[in-house]
């Protein structure tokens, strides 16, 4: 019993200064934020999209991907699971139904872990936007950082 008490006390005395030193060094701040992705297909119905996102500044980790606001794209889109805990991702989705969105809609939300104080910057590229016939349509993509 005495031996155990001595071991515990020794461990505490060794660990406390080490932990105190670590906390003094100060780890980088970490916060979580959603990044909402919007596509504007104008007057054409959007049936399929694919885009790529990469952080160009700041340190981020992708922690999750969520579907969009319209029923056609509400289900979580396709993405490579290897993109989680990474800073780049390719996301795509399609819908073969008749009820398709037009105009500017939120197609996906990417949940991010932002490490450090630097405000992240992103490069976003829409590689595919197609209508119900599978024909490419002109569309623009943008993002908004949520709280």
């Amino acid at each position: 019993m005495n031996k155990i008490a001595i071991i515990i006390l020794t461990s505490v005395f060794v660990m406390v200064p080490v932990l105190a030193r670590q906390s003094d060094q100060g780890e980088p701040s970490v916060r979580f934020a959603p990044l909402h992705i919007y596509v504007d297909s104008g007057s054409r119905p959007l049936a399929a999209y694919q885009f790529e996102l990469k952080a160009t500044d700041g340190q981020i980790k992708i922690v999750g991907v969520e579907g969009g606001q319209h029923e056609a794209f509400r289900e979580a889109p396709y993405y490579d699971p290897a993109a989680l805990a990474n800073d780049k991702i390719i996301i795509a989705a399609f819908n073969t139904g008749k009820d398709l969105p037009k105009g500017r809609i939120r197609i996906a939300t990417i949940h991010l872990q932002i490490i450090g104080e630097t405000k992240p910057e992103y490069e976003l590229k829409l590689t595919v936007a197609a209508d119900a016939d599978g024909k490419q349509i002109p569309a623009t993509i943008s993002y908004e950082e949520g709280e």
């Binding site: 049936a47 399929a48 999209y49 694919q50 790529e52 996102l53 990469k54 396709y78 993405y79 490579d80 699971p81 290897a82 993109a83 990474n86 780049k88 991702i89 390719i90 996301i91 795509a92 989705a93 399609f94 073969t96 490069e123 590229k125 590689t127 595919v128 197609a130 599978g134 490419q136």
Partner: protein, 163 residues
């Protein structure tokens, strides 16, 4: 010699001393024999005591074995469930396709694998219900939604290069 010792020595009578010695010896003399009734009673009591301990140990052991069997049965059920892949939550295929599958996933033959290949295949399946067997991406003998998922996942693979 102190005053106190002198007092003791003065009154010491040799006859009294020997009587006192004999009394003390009798007092501390051990009992030579225990009556058989007492022996029997002690034996019975011990026997009853240890019989009770044994039965409670048996009960504990039985309980422990029952608990172990329950744990083993639960583990077997979990292993069996995993072997049946009951934990799969959705129908969507989430495994990353192999590189060979990616090359085969160029459904529209435009030299690039993207979501339009999956879209084209999905529309084809929904419209006609009959599609070419070469689009059986996962080799299960059927061309269905799982093959569409395989094509879509090939389109979003990171090692294709991003931006």
């Amino acid at each position: 010699m102190t005053e106190r010792m002198e007092q003791f020595d003065e009154d010491l009578d040799p006859g009294e001393y020997s009587k006192l010695s004999a009394d003390l010896r009798a007092l501390f003399k051990t009992l030579r024999s225990v009556p058989p009734e007492v022996d029997r009673a002690v034996y019975d009591r011990i026997h009853r005591h240890f019989a009770g301990v044994k039965s409670s140990q048996g009960k504990y052991r039985r309980f422990r074995w029952a608990a172990l069997w329950k744990v083993a049965a639960a583990a077997a059920v979990v292993i069996f469930a995993f072997s049946l892949d009951l934990t799969k939550r959705s129908e969507r295929v989430t495994q990353r396709p192999a590189l060979a599958e990616i090359q085969a996933a160029d459904i529209d033959l435009n030299g690039r694998v993207d979501i339009l290949d999956a879209f084209t295949l999905a529309r084809q399946i929904e419209k006609t219900g009959h599609v070419e067997s070469r689009w059986d991406m996962n080799g299960d003998g059927l061309v269905d939604r799982r093959d569409v998922d395989t094509v879509a996942l090939a389109a979003v693979r990171l090692d294709k290069g991003v931006l």
